[in-house]
């Protein structure tokens, strides 16, 4: 209960962060109203779904900026990430993933394939590890480096130091994808494909399909696909 209430009370703060970072035009008045209504909801027992997505970004929103340390020690942001050809990307496959979640592990090889397919087309995978390494030691920086070396990750593997980035995106699980276009607009969100447990049985690769749609000047459809995953391990307060 406490956790739910805590989340609810954090929601307006996160919403504020998102609003300030993406929509400077929003007035303070609007923010204050949003805060009050969310707090009111948090006190009721039966939660309605209207308040569900107060945090994070949706398809169509601007992707929150970040500047995070890669496993090679360098800092990366949308400003200096390149695709496989060394060019400014047409988009970014921002993927919240980690070492320790069995679902994330099941997708490691597919994420490598995805990068190898999409990065030459201008859409590199940018993996971000969001878990608190104090809760999940297996996700600390040294273990990220080790896992990346073992698997030969061809993509960036960034540490969400201080867990400041994933809440702005509203990510809740690993793995979870945000496909961001060149204008930094989120165009697709959610699952990588339609069968987590069996790569052989996959019939739709949602990310590749979304990239194809963007390249054809269309809206990805579906644009948001839910999947089971591990909850992101937030620092205990």
């Amino acid at each position: 209960m406490k956790i739910v209430s805590l989340l609810r009370s954090l929601a307006p703060m996160m919403a504020l962060v998102a609003l300030f970072s993406c929509q400077n035009a929003t007035t303070e008045n609007t923010d204050a109203t949003a805060t009050e209504s969310t707090e009111a909801v948090s006190k009721t027992v039966s939660h309605t779904t209207e308040d569900a997505d107060m945090t994070g970004v949706k398809v169509g929103d601007t992707a929150p900026a970040f500047n995070l340390k890669n496993i090679d020690g360098d800092m990366y942001s949308f400003d200096n990430i390149k695709d496989a050809n060394g060019n400014t990307p047409k988009g970014y496959v921002v993927t919240f993933t980690c070492n320790t979640c069995p679902y994330a592990v099941m997708y490691e090889d597919r994420l490598i394939d995805l990068h190898n397919t999409l990065s030459p087309m201008g859409y590199p995978v940018v993996a971000i590890q969001p878990n608190d390494p104090e809760i999940k030691e297996g996700d600390n920086f040294a273990n990220m480096q080790q896992r990346a070396e073992e698997k030969g990750f061809p993509f960036l593997y960034l540490m969400d130091e201080g867990q400041t980035v994933y809440p702005q995106y509203g990510a809740s699980r690993t793995p979870e994808i945000y496909l961001v276009d060149a204008d930094l607009v989120v165009r697709y969100h959610g699952a990588i494909d339609d069968n987590a447990q069996d790569a052989e049985a996959v019939t739709i690769n949602y990310v590749e399909k979304a990239v194809e749609a963007i390249n054809n000047g269309q809206e990805p459809n579906p644009a948001d696909v839910k999947a089971v995953g591990c909850s992101i391990k937030a620092k205990k307060i």
Binding site: M1, V45, V225
Partner: protein
């Protein structure tokens, strides 16, 4: 009187379970061939789902077959938890549900643990895990891979991460998208329906 009886039954079950857990592995392996005590206590179904094979829990491949457990209209409080043996925070909070089962009357509070273990594990790893728990909670294994379809049916607010818990009584409903920090949090959530 009915409460007392079911309380006694619960106590008996608990003792049986506690005693069984101290038995050796050898005896556990022999359990299937000597079902003298388990025949009487093992339920024939979990909620509306019949047990069709040797496992003490049903394996549901289509979410629609599970869906009725979220909309019962009788007078019970239903506590439905989504978990998996691979999910560390889920396993951490299992003792709270086990304690809830001990401290509540099953005629008033019905607990169901929906496992999202991988299809390849539901007859092996999951069964082994459950066998070694001190208290038998009703489990249903859900292996429907169309997560994009059924996650929203459970709750549109749910992003797909586990654990989550739903507590409901008729039209009143609580969706808890986080691990419980302690038993009291879970007990408070259930008590708010009493």
């Amino acid at each position: 009187m009915r409460h007392l009886l079911s309380g006694l039954l619960g106590l008996t079950l608990f003792c049986t379970a506690a005693c069984q857990s101290t038995e050796t592995d050898q005896q556990q392996e022999g359990e299937a061939s000597t079902p003298v005590t388990t025949v009487d206590t093992t339920p024939k179904q979990i909620m509306h789902l019949a047990l069709t094979d040797t496992l003490p829990y049903p394996i549901v491949e289509d979410f629609d077959d599970l869906a009725p457990i979220f909309s019962r209209t009788d007078d019970k409080i239903y506590v439905i938890n989504f978990w998996a043996t691979w999910c560390a925070p889920c396993v951490e909070e299992l003792p709270y549900f086990e304690r809830l089962a001990e401290e509540t009357n099953p005629e008033e509070v019905e607990i169901v643990m929906v496992s999202l273990d991988f299809r390849r594990d539901v007859r092996t790893k999951l069964w082994k895990f459950i066998k070694n728990r001190p208290f038998d909670l009703p489990v249903i294994a859900l292996t429907d891979s169309k997560t994009n379809v059924w996650i929203d049916k459970v709750d549109p607010e749910w992003g797909g991460a586990i654990p989550i818990t739903i507590v409901y009584h008729q039209d009143k409903r609580l969706f808890i998208a986080e691990q419980f920090a302690n038993y009291e949090e879970l007990a408070t959530a259930v008590r708010s329906f009493q």
